[in-house]
Symmetry: C2
């Protein structure tokens, strides 16, 4: 499998930015989204700034936590 160590890919940053945008649009805190998605608020915070190579399952849980599909969140 490809080793991607050239820093956050554009997709990580795009997903993180969109996640924060949609979370804030709904007036949700990190804790609120953590409760809704089952993912820890500290992990979400790192995803939002592109620091996590998040998996598709967790992307799905975060989208669902916002009431969105993954396609809508990207």
């Amino acid at each position: 499998m490809a080793k991607t160590d050239k820093g956050p890919t554009e997709s990580r940053l795009t997903f993180g930015r969109r996640l924060r945008e949609e979370r804030q649009r709904r007036g949700l805190t990190l804790e609120d989204l953590a409760a809704a998605s089952g993912i820890t608020w500290s992990y979400i915070a790192q995803v939002e700034v592109g620091r996590r190579n998040i998996s598709v399952d967790n992307m799905h849980l975060l989208a669902a936590g916002l009431g969105l599909t993954l396609r809508e969140l990207l």
Copy 2:
């Protein structure tokens, strides 16, 4: 972090189906996409059937291998 053991999420299956669709639309074999993305053809085959909890970085590499953004691929 949430343990997702309830089988392939809908997002895994959606991403896998779209990946195969776009690969076949371009007449690419698994080996062709492996060469273009830097990801092994056997891993791609498993992603296409929703058997891999693929990361956003690898989703990005596969999209780029098809000349697409991740948003276009979902």
